[in-house]
């Protein structure tokens, strides 16, 4: 049934014109599978319809590389001993995938080595600081500051999970946008991505507004109307990057935040891809 350009989804031609680069793709985000990759591959397949409908050019996911970012000791040992398993998704989907490594700031020594092994030498393009699980550590902690120094030298993209939750943090290691702002002020030449815009975006946007080296990422909360309009108004379209959070969120929820917003087509184009490409030096 041809419903191109109808029922809320822009036409295929329009989507292609946006050149969508997804900065926050989360196939099996918490655990890649006992072999280090099979659950990631399964979730990429689960996302295939949405990725194709959206005409995504690239999607950036967050790889576990054996730093203790899961609670599965066997898996962590396996990934450390056989790092080739880490890159299986990138090899399977070379045209689609980009990767960042999930860091464990609770183990700064191993994390520093991983930055060299996976980012400086490649193929990963950046680092992700998780907000939950065994690797979570508030981004103002001195361990994180030390890692950011190394990441800045390596020219890496830094994606930081942030949330502001009614009733308090989800866990002691979760970061808020205000904490990210504190970190980012120490590194004015380094860009940071404030994942989920803090969830409670009215506060999140205001918390990072005066720190120009922070961009906000759009995924991970309901499709609450008015978000993108406020983000463009307060930050400018140049400081917003699109994320899909697929497959645990949906194309409908995440894409419509941008495509249905009352902003210009040029602003949508920047948010959906151009800004992330610029961060990556593309």
């Amino acid at each position: 049934m041809d419903r191109d350009g109808q029922f809320g989804l822009p036409s295929a031609a329009a989507l292609q014109g946006y050149r969508i680069w997804d900065s926050y793709f989360t196939p099996s985000h918490g655990h890649p599978g006992p072999d280090g990759f099979s659950a990631v591959l399964a979730d990429i397949e689960r996302s295939r319809r949405a990725l194709e409908l959206g005409r995504f050019e690239k999607a950036c996911y967050f790889a576990h590389v054996g730093l203790g970012t899961t609670r599965d000791a066997e898996l962590e040992t396996l990934l450390d001993a056989e790092p080739d398993r880490v890159v299986v998704p990138l090899e399977r989907y070379p045209d689609l995938l980009l990767g960042m490594i999930q860091l464990n700031a609770n183990d700064p020594g191993a994390s520093r080595e991983a930055i060299d092994r996976w980012i400086v030498e490649g193929p990963m393009v950046g680092a992700y600081l998780p907000g939950g699980g065994p690797a979570a550590l508030t981004c103002t902690h001195r361990n994180v500051i030390g890692l950011v120094e190394r990441l800045a030298e390596a020219g890496a993209v830094i994606m930081v999970h942030t949330w502001i939750k009614t009733g308090g943090k989800g866990g002691p290691g979760e970061s808020t946008p205000a904490e990210l702002a504190e970190l980012a002020r120490r590194f004015p030449g380094q860009s940071f991505v404030c994942a989920h815009a803090g969830g409670e975006w009215e506060k999140g946007i205001r918390a990072v507004r005066d720190v120009p080296n922070i961009l906000v990422e759009t995924s991970g909360f309901d499709a609450t109307a008015g978000f993108l309009e406020m983000a463009v108004r307060e930050l400018g379209a140049g400081r917003i990057v699109f994320g899909s959070h697929l497959p645990s969120r949906s194309l409908g929820t995440e894409l419509s935040k941008v495509t249905a917003a009352e902003v210009t087509e040029e602003e949508k184009r920047r948010i959906l891809g151009a800004n992330f490409r610029a961060l990556l030096g593309e």
Partner: protein, 293 residues
């Protein structure tokens, strides 16, 4: 507008079960195919002001314009005023008056069974205001679904032939105003409550299922669900697998949520069979509201 005129206006749309030609002609998203026009019935929109922020579509004209653009031919419209206002009768009359200006909108009255006189509010909804459904906000109004007042309400709604919409949530608990932090409604007692009232029909709004529903909820065929917050790229398909396509109804929770979100998820992303899609986006709501035996 006088109540009588209001009644006639509401009834002319609701009772006929027909959308005016003029409103359909304004829809830009109709698809002609073997099965005819894919006509969307949004069972979950709200009018007036969300208490905590202005929304891009919180003027009725703007909302209706957007719904038309998206191919929504009809919508069940509740009132955000019903969440915190205490005089539900006045809330419902304002809502009916506003809906009467737009042929797409069918008003859904708010009932708070914890307030004195709720019975007459309900009778007014079913009678003078010509409504087909009522909407409940148990978490904001402070009662559980095992409460005897809820049972009494279901009985009266069944007698009046009103669909009962139960809003599990209006906003993610993580992002609520800290002084109005409201947990999601516990659906646990709902199957038993519905089971005790012959003929009552209930629609759950804004639930975000996490894992499988309890057996009792799956077994009660008179409980249906909307898709407004059913997220995940395959979320709608999973809900269909859990409860059956006959019990899934399109709802967007606009204008609080962007209406395109649920629409893209349902029409494009879920890979539903054509007949399932047609029922979910419109047919099931038509059946629940207009085909009562």
């Amino acid at each position: 507008m006088k109540r009588r005129a209001l009644l006639e206006s509401s009834l002319s749309v609701a009772a006929a079960g027909i959308v005016s030609t003029s409103s359909l002609s304004k829809s830009e998203n109709r698809t002609q195919d073997g099965g005819g026009v894919l006509s969307v019935f949004d069972t979950n929109v709200s009018l007036f002001r969300w208490p905590f922020r202005r929304l891009p579509l919180d003027e009725t004209e703007a909302l209706v314009r957007r719904l038309r653009e998206l191919g929504v031919a009809r919508a069940l419209a509740g009132s955000f005023e019903g969440v915190l206002h205490r005089d539900c009768g006045a809330v419902n009359r304002r809502l009916a008056e506003e809906c009467a200006r737009f042929s797409e909108l069918l008003p859904v009255g708010t009932i708070d069974p914890g307030r004195p006189g709720w019975e007459s509010d309900l009778e007014e909804c079913a009678g003078e205001l010509g409504m087909r459904a009522i909407r409940l906000f148990p978490n904001y109004h402070g009662y559980a679904l095992g409460d005897r007042r809820f049972h009494a309400l279901l009985e009266r709604a069944a007698t009046a032939g009103l669909l009962v919409q139960v809003a599990v949530a209006l906003e993610d608990t993580r992002t609520q105003h800290r002084l109005v932090a409201v947990p999601d409604v516990d659906l646990g007692p709902l199957p038993e409550a519905v089971g005790r009232v012959p003929g009552v029909l209930v629609q759950v709004l804004n639930d975000r299922p996490r894992g499988a529903y309890p057996e009792a909820l799956l077994d009660e065929s008179r409980i249906s669900f909307d898709v407004a917050r059913v997220d995940g790229t395959d979320g709608v398909a999973r809900l269909r697998d859990m409860v059956g396509w006959e019990r899934v109804l399109f709802g967007s929770h606009a204008p609080f949520l962007i209406p395109e979100a649920a629409l893209i998820r349902t029409v494009h992303e879920s890979g539903l069979a054509e007949h399932e899609l047609r029922c979910i986006v419109g047919g099931n709501a038509e059946r629940l509201l207009f085909d009562k035996a």
